[in-house]
Amino acid sequence: MTDPVQNGDNLQQRPQGAVASSAAASDLAIELIGINKRFGAVHANKDIDLKVRRGTVHGIVGENGAGKSTLMSILYGFYTADSGEIRVGGTPHAITDSRHALALGIGMVHQHFMLVDNFSILENVVLGAEDSAMLGPSLDRARKELTRLEKEYNLEVDPDAIIEDVSVGTQQRVEILKALYRGADVLILDEPTGVLTPAEADDLFRVLRVLRDQGKTIILITHKLREIMAITDYVSVMRQGAMVDTLKTSETNPEQLAELMVGRRVLLRVHKTPARPGDTFLSVENLVVKDDLGVTRVKDVSFTVRAGEIVGIAGVAGNGQSELLESISGMRDQSSGTVRLKGTPLSLEGDDGAHRARKAGLAHVPEDRQRMGLITGFEEWENAMLGYEDDPAYGKGVILDIPAAQAQARERIKKFDIRPANERLKTALFSGGNQQKIVLAREMERNPDVLIVGQPTRGVDIGAIEFIHNQIIKMRDAGKAILVVSVELDEIRSLADRILVMFDGHIVGEADPATATERELGLMMAGVTDKKAPPAREAAEGKMP
């Protein structure tokens, strides 16, 4: 194993991006040369060159859709490149499938875990790496090997636990163990912290450092600059399918990386006047909500939103925000608690709860427009009335007035500049930003008292982001109460008049966006707070059946 520090020095002496062709081939764990991949008209990877040194943590950073995951899927043999060469340990290989990649010592931890939920950890580790047609010997060997790996890398798990019973953090460990068990020397992690709590993420980084110190090579795909700065030795930046640059992490900074990622200076600040809050429009009292598996995800949450203010809920994804939104909007039954709109309790039970919430004046822009907010197989005008199809504007009695509905859709297309301006087009054919505008137009044009918005700009192009933010602020200035939930801290900080931080199902703190620092908010999102301490995790979980 070559000394990683030495490698770093080598790189340092050379111009960035042109890592030494003269360097000993064995220094490089992975070398990608001229990789191209198209999906239909989308050029997902354009002539990519990448060199990854042995025994380093190499970050690959870029916005969503920059082509990072595609590139790694090619390296892992899940896709085949249209052209280009892959060298592993200096030798060219045509990696045709995942099995081949595994044989070359390349392991991957996917963003969505590839685990069989009703299998034990041991069975998951063995799956696909069995020694023979009989299972017994494989399981015995795996059990011993797991014990060894656990010790070597500090990765404790209970081999007989069933996957669906263990935490997400543990599931990720299983994925790492799976790769190590298959003899991986190069470990690719795709957005590994997206589903982790901050504590779990820190633990993951600790594991990754141990792995690196033991000589493993780690490729970390992420769009979070904080992680790049915290853990990587080198970082490659991708933008729109192309490799922009490769840098030594210690010699760069988040600002430079952000600029490389986006291609221009990013200004996420939104121009808005100070809020002038009025009466309380939305009040949530002692709300408790369970998810589909019966796990309590929202734990005794209370807050209010007043007319003319935007309240933002920040937090790492998976800390109960989705369930909170779904519950307030009537999509998900609450276990206990009350949601009041202008003082009147909303009756949200049953699978038509969302209908009653809308009738009462609560509009909802969901976090996942394609899964919830739209029926992508419908024409645009049909989606423009989704959820309001009972409205007298769309017909008399049981009959729909189709011309009226289409005329209204045309108006909104104009007003929200939805393109292409054709209400008869299938909704699937609109871009993400335009789809989001269809939803926004529908929900805002009802003139609701309360608007709740989940992930306002997820998967939306930069031009549309500004428009969407301005529309939300316009609503606020018109005296509406607005609740925004976003996992993008920047978005919350620029949009909200008041920030609530959610962690492990609790609101753990409140902050003023004008004064709170990223560090303060980050600590709160990690559950570390000196303000009113959250109830102990154990106590909260004790309530669960």
């Binding site: 008209a41 969302a354 959820g387 054919l429 993400g432």
Partner: protein, 378 residues
Amino acid sequence: MSSALLKPLPRWADVVLLPLLNLALAFVVSGLVVLAIGQDPLAALNAIVTGAFGNGYNIGYTLYYSTNFMFTGLAVAVAAHAGLFNIGGNGQAYIAGLGVIAVALPLQFLPWWITFPIAIVAGAAVGGLWGFIPGWLQAKRGSHVVITTIMFNFIAAAIMVYMVVNVLKPAGILAPESAMIAPEGRMPKLGAFIPWFKNTDVNFTLILALICLVGAYFLIWHTRFGFAMRALGQNPTATRYAGMSNSRIIMIVMTMSGALAGMVAVNQVFGVQYRLVLDYVADAGFVGIAVALMGRNHPVGILLAAILFGALYQGGNELQYVIPGLSKEMVVVIQALVILFTGAMEGLFRPGLQRIFMALSPRQKAGAIEANSVKSGG
């Protein structure tokens, strides 16, 4: 993936060309079977067509069979729009006979035009109930409607045997059947008014079927409930978001579907047999699956597909008299192949057809690229 490149077919190709291609394939394969056993497929086809449309008598019977298939086809299609696969048309059509006979016998001394609507309501109610229960179980208990409706077909069959043999069979009759409706209470067949259809079984229920087709069209595309139903069929999470009650929609749709299938009982029991016999449904429920698939779940398509299958059934009956050795089961084979090719092996023709269409029109190609990039870019 190469399929990501392909643009959806133009509508006419999707609703006309593709089903016709699949139908042609089904005919070709059946023809090969006929050829393999040493018969002349063209002669067989000729016999079927003549047997189905050769004269007024043939057409009358074709329409009589089509009537059943319009109902069962609609039953499958209405459920399909809501994303439900109602495989229980047979059971629903069968058990509905209980409702029909339960009103037809006591009211047999009233004129038929008074009993007819009552029989319709009774048949719809019982058939609807047999659809509602699986719907309710799906909506409230999460049982898969496909499995439940299969089970309900068998449960219906058991109940019907019991009811006909132990309850409805009058003393002194050997055959397992109920009493006959008195002659003065029987609905005349269409042959009584249109000499062309003389001595055939086609009756006023055909008119009812046509009304149901038009009604279904309005229901699906011109009512608020139809909108909700189609929305549920495409994205149940979105309907939950919209606050439409998914469970309510499922229960209503399954009830409607069962009621439509139940109209077969009106045709058979009230229109033709004048009594309740065993097994009068004769798998019309399953033919409905073929009809709905072939007709692309659209009433116009269902009308045409029902006539096609009605013709096949009637032609198949005649076939065995024209060409000894060829039996009407040939038709069941064709029907199975239509279901296989249009329902389960769509992937056979579609990609090729899409390629042909794209090659023929550069504009289509550009459209595909645009559509594709929009989709992937989002």
